[in-house]
Amino acid sequence: MKGSLIVVGFFILGLLAGHSGTMPEWVLSSGLSFAALCALLLCVGMGIGLNPDMKSDIKSLSPRLALLPVATIAGSWLGAVVACTLMNSGICTIFQPRSITDCLAVDSGFAYYSLSSIFITEYRGAELGTIALLANIIREMITLLLTPLLAKWFGPLAPISSGGATTMDTTLPIITQTVGQRYVALSIYHGFVTDFTVPFVVTMWCML
């Protein structure tokens, strides 16, 4: 829990620094975050390479677990239907009625906020694009912050499913720290498959 709070602390610190405009322009435009992401993945890879049990870890996983991306995608759509029903039920006046395909498109970002928000802005306008950006950032944040809880409540596959397309990079370290190194291969495979489907399913829901 302490680790999660530090993560949120850094996010809020960045939010304040960005809003106050004290950070020089080059920090965002220089590709520093991409370099940091690559460095992070190099470290994650080294963690895998340094772990001698990797081979037996992969073998100990059931082949049925290859279906995990299907569970993630179907589960996200199920959630989108529930969210849409709640929005249109008039329970809370904050919510504007949204079409079911809008909700499905947003939740088909699977936490891949940059790409999904660009696509949705293109197809459905900036408002839904902003919702897509926020919803998918929040999904990544939920995974980063609540991974220990999700694993406790729903088992070791839940944080991977929750992380969606990010489980091969940004959320991989926190997931393996929580559920163990033996899920590294599944997590990377899951992230790869989910990531690959994002442009197709987002486009599909926006076209319908």
Binding site: F11, C43, A80, F95, T143
Partner: protein, 97 residues
């Protein structure tokens, strides 16, 4: 995206070489890697905050759109976790039987 994947494999290669050829320094390098991982996660979250914070449009729209986004993402996470739990349960039953 492929560059990113490339770095994972590069890391795996370096880690493998360290483990097999430089066994004496393995523990030191492993703890350094863990530390670097933690700091890079913090840096990336800070950068994400920076990106959102410096975008006036998103900041202004946060209160109303944020609630909708929160509902949508929470439902997506719960739906995914429910099905992941179901897959976990059925896989475990099979392994036992």
């Amino acid at each position: 995206m492929f560059i990113v994947i490339l770095f994972i494999f590069l890391g795996i290669g370096i880690g493998y070489v360290v483990r097999t050829k430089m066994a004496a320094r393995k523990t030191v390098i492993a703890s350094l890697t863990a530390k670097a991982t933690t700091w890079l996660i913090w840096l990336l979250l800070f950068m994400l905050g920076l990106e959102v914070g410096s975008n006036e449009q998103i900041i202004a729209a946060l209160p109303t759109l944020g609630v909708e986004a929160l509902l949508l993402s929470a439902c997506a996470v719960l739906g995914s976790c429910a099905l992941a739990w179901a897959l976990w349960k059925t896989t475990k039953e099979r392994r036992k039987g």
